[in-house]
Symmetry: C2
Subunit: 441 residues, 2 copies
C-alpha cells in the first residue's frame, strides 16, 4: 500500500484537469483513493509515502496499434511506398525471419521502448501472439494481443482456422494473467475472406473482444476493391456486420463523410497512425472531420518498420498538429483532447474503459510520472496540459507502474527485465542485424 505524492495529478475524465495537493493511494493492483495528503495519510497511516515532488502523475499512455515484433526491422525499409515496402522488403524479410524467436526478441525491444517512454499498454497484431504476450509479461507491459489472422499460409499457420486456433490456445494459456488481454485481429480486407471475417465477428461477440483491423489505409486499397468486387472495403464491413462498437479501424486514411458518420453512430474507433501514413505516402487521415462527427479517434504508432519510433508523445503531438494543419482550424484536437486520446479514449477503444486510462478509485494502477523539473526543454510550464501534449517527450518519463507494480524507476526497467533487455539488445546487434542484412542482399 503506497501513497503517491506528486506535484500534480492529471485527471483525464470527464474533463482534463491539473490537480494540486492531490495524492493517490494504490494497493495491490489498484487505485483505492484519490485525495489530499492529509486525507490519505489519516485514512491509511500504514501506507508508504512515495514523494514525487518534481513529477506529474498521469495514467499510462495506450498505444492502439503496434506490430511489436517489427522493432527488429526498424530502418530495414525506408523511403518506399506501402506496396513496395510490403512486397519487396517486409514480406520477404518476414518470410525468412519471422519465427517465434524473432517475435519474442522484437517484442521485448518494443515493449521496453514503450514502457520506458510511458506507454503502459499496447494493442498488437502479429504472428505468434503468444511470444508477444510472453515478451510483454517479461518486460512488464500490459498487452492487448491479437488473435491475428491472414488468409494465406505463413510459417506461423497454414490457413485461417489454424491462425484462430493458435490464437485461442495462447489466450487460454495466459487466461490468469491480469495484464494480458485479447482482440481478434484480421489483417486487412485485401488479405482476409468474407468467411473468415464473419467467423471472427462471431468470435468477437462470443468472447467479448475488440476487432482490430487495418482498413482504408491507401487509396488503391479502396479503388482496387471497388473495381474487383464493386464495393468499398468499408461497405463490405457494413455488410458483414463489422461496423460496431468493438471495431478499431486502423489507419482509415480514406474514409468518406458517410463512413465517418456511420462509425460515430456505431461507436467504432479510428486508430490514427500519422507517422506511418505519411512515411508510406498513404495520405492524411480525415481526423478533424472524424472528431467533428463524434468518432472516437485514438493514436497508434504502427510498427517500427514504418514509423520508425514507438513514441506515443511524438505520435500524438503529430496527430494533433496534422489535424489542425490539414483542416485549417488551429482549435482542432486541442491539448486536453489529446491527453484523453492517449488515455480514456484509447481505453474505450479497447473495451478497457472501466479498468485503465483514469486516475480514479477502482481503476488499475497503470501510472506514469513525467519529470517537470529544471530542464531547458521543459520550462516554462505556463500550462501543464499543453506541456504534456506539445512538449512532452519519452525522455521525461521517470517512473512507470503497470497493474500496481513499479516496472520503471528513475528511467530504468526493474526486476528481471533489467537483465533481459541488455541481453536482447546485445543479441540484436550480434545476431539480428546480420540476419536481416543477409536477407536484404
Amino acid at each position: 500500500m503506497q501513497i503517491l505524492a506528486p506535484r500534480h495529478v492529471i485527471q483525464t475524465h470527464p474533463t482534463v484537469e491539473v490537480l494540486e495537493n492531490t495524492c493517490v493511494l494504490i494497493d495491490q493492483d489498484r487505485i483505492v483513493q484519490v485525495g489530499t495528503r492529509e486525507e490519505l495519510t489519516h485514512a491509511f497511516p500504514q501506507a508508504d509515502m512515495v514523494e514525487l515532488p518534481h513529477q506529474a502523475l498521469m495514467p499510462g499512455l495506450i498505444n492502439c496499434h503496434t506490430h511489436a515484433a517489427m522493432n527488429l526491422l526498424r530502418g530495414a525499409a525506408d523511403d518506399l511506398a506501402l506496396h513496395d515496402w510490403l512486397q519487396t522488403r517486409i514480406w520477404p524479410l518476414e518470410g525468412e525471419l519471422a519465427d517465434g524467436e524473432f517475435v519474442y526478441d522484437g517484442a521485448v525491444l518494443a515493449a521496453a521502448e514503450m514502457l520506458l517512454g510511458g506507454t503502459t499498454t499496447f494493442n498488437d497484431m502479429y504472428f505468434y501472439p503468444e511470444q508477444t504476450v510472453q515478451a510483454a509479461l517479461d518486460v512488464g507491459a500490459r498487452v492487448v494481443a491479437g488473435i491475428t489472422v491472414i488468409e494465406f499460409p505463413t510459417r506461423y499457420a497454414a490457413e485461417p482456422r489454424q491462425y484462430i486456433e493458435l490464437g485461442l490456445q495462447a489466450r487460454d494459456k495466459y487466461r490468469d494473467e491480469p495484464t494480458v488481454h485479447w482482440a481478434v485481429a484480421p489483417h486487412a480486407p485485401y488479405t482476409v475472406s468474407d468467411e473468415t471475417f464473419a467467423h471472427l465477428a462471431t468470435l468477437a461477440e462470443e468472447l467479448d473482444l475488440p476487432i482490430h483491423c487495418h482498413l482504408h489505409e491507401t487509396a488503391s486499397e479502396v479503388s482496387d476493391a471497388v473495381s474487383r468486387h464493386g464495393e468499398r472495403p468499408f461497405e463490405r464491413f457494413e455488410r458483414l456486420g463489422l461496423i460496431n462498437e468493438r471495431l478499431l479501424v486502423v489507419h482509415g486514411v480514406h474514409l468518406s463523410d458517410r463512413e465517418l458518420a456511420c462509425m460515430a453512430k456505431a461507436g467504432s474507433s479510428l486508430v490514427h497512425c500519422p507517422s506511418s501514413n505519411l512515411k508510406l505516402a498513404s495520405g492524411l487521415a480525415p481526423t478533424a472531420k472524424a472528431l467533428a462527427a463524434g468518432v472516437n479517434v485514438v493514436v497508434g504508432t504502427d510498427g517500427a518498420a514504418s514509423n520508425n519510433k514507438l513514441d506515443l508523445w511524438e505520435e500524438g503531438r503529430l496527430a494533433s498538429l496534422l489535424a489542425k494543419g490539414s483542416s485549417g482550424d488551429a482549435t482542432v484536437w486541442p491539448a486536453h483532447r489529446l491527453i484523453q486520446s492517449w488515455t480514456v479514449d484509447a481505453a474505450r477503444a479497447l473495451g478497457l474503459e472501466n479498468h485503465i486510462g483514469q486516475i480514479a478509485p477502482g481503476f488499475l494502477a497503470d501510472l506514469i510520472t513525467v519529470n517537470i523539473d529544471l530542464h531547458p526543454h521543459q520550462l516554462p510550464i505556463h500550462n501543464l496540459v499543453s506541456k504534456l501534449a506539445y512538449s512532452g517527450a519519452a525522455r521525461d518519463v521517470q517512473d512507470v507502474w503497470v497493474n500496481g507494480r513499479q516496472v520503471v524507476r528513475a528511467q530504468q526497467l526493474q526486476g528481471a527485465a533489467a537483465q533481459l533487455l541488455p541481453e536482447i539488445l546485445r543479441k540484436t546487434q550480434r545476431v539480428w542485424q546480420t540476419r536481416v542484412e543477409k536477407v536484404g542482399r
Copy 2:
C-alpha cells in the same frame, strides 16, 4: 589538438556516407584532417585521443529559423490560429514583457535546449539581438543574429532606422567573436515598408549578409496583399530585388510553381517550419515541389510559442514525413537528403557553406556525437542514415563541440554555462512564469 575516434563518421557532402575506421583531427577551432586512426596518430603523435566507441560523429545541426527569446512563452498560447495567436496573445505578452532581460533569459533557455539536442547554430530573429548574441556566447552556441526590423515602434526601437542602427551597433560590438554571425531580418511583408526593404537589401549586399524574412506564411497574408496592393508579397519581393541567393524565405506555405521556380533559379532558400505551420493551421508548405524544382529547402523550428519544442530531430523527421504524405510519393525527401538539409544545405542558406555543415579539413569544428549504443529505441541499426533521420532524438546527443570547444560532454553543458543554466531555469520558474501569468489575466 585532439583526435576524435568515433565508431562512425557521417559525411554530408557531396554525398551522405557512413564512414568506418575514420578519425577526425581538430586543432583550435578547426578540423585539420580526416583519416584512419593510423594515419592521424602517425601524423600527429602529440594529439590527445578521444575515444567515442559508442557514438556516431556528425556536423552539428543548423536551425534556420528561431525566435530564441520566445522560449519564455512556450505553452502560453496554444490551439489558436496565427492571427489570434499573434494579436490576442503574443503581441500583448511581448508588449508587456519583451525587454532585454526577457530576451537574454529566453535565449539562454533556447540556446541550451538546442545545444543539448545537437543544434550548434541557430538563425534568430527577435528584438534586442545583442541579448540573444550574449546568451548564445554564454551558453556556447553559434548564432546568426538578425538585424531585426519591424515598421512600428516597440520598446526596443521607435522606427526602422533605429532598429537597423541598434542591430549594426550590436554587430560592431561582437565583431571579433568567431561564433557570432549576422543577417538582416525584416519581420514580414505585412509589417515592413518598401522603403525599409530596399534599405535592407542594400545593406545585405554591402555587408554580405543573408536576408531572413517570413514570407507567404498564411493564405490571408497573400490574399490581403493582393486585395490591398494588387500584388502578392512574393511579387513585391521580386520588384524590390529581394529574390536572390541571400534570401531565406521562412515558411513559404503558399508559394506557386512559378515562385518556386523563381527561387530555385535565384538560389534562394526555403526555410520549412512544419510544426509551427501545422499548429497555427497555416497549412502545408509545398516542399516536395520545392525540392523537385531545385530549391534549397532547409528546416527551422520557429519559436517555442508556436512549436513548442526546439528539437531539430523531430522537426526534420516531420518535414520529411509530411513531404512524402502530402505529395503521395514516399521517396521524397529521403533520409540522406534530410541529413544534408540539417547540415550542408542549412549552411548554404546562411552563407556559411565554407565554414560549417561538413566534416572536412578546413571546416570549423562544430560537431556532435550521437549515442548509437544499447537502447531499445535505437536498435537495430540496419542503416545509420535512416536511424539518424527517422529515429534520431535529442536525448541521444552526447557531446557537442562549437568552434572547436567542447560545450556539451555526456549530455551536460560545460564551463560557465553549467552554472548559468540552472540559475535561469530557477528564475524562469520563480519570476517569468508569474509575469506571463499576470499579463495573461
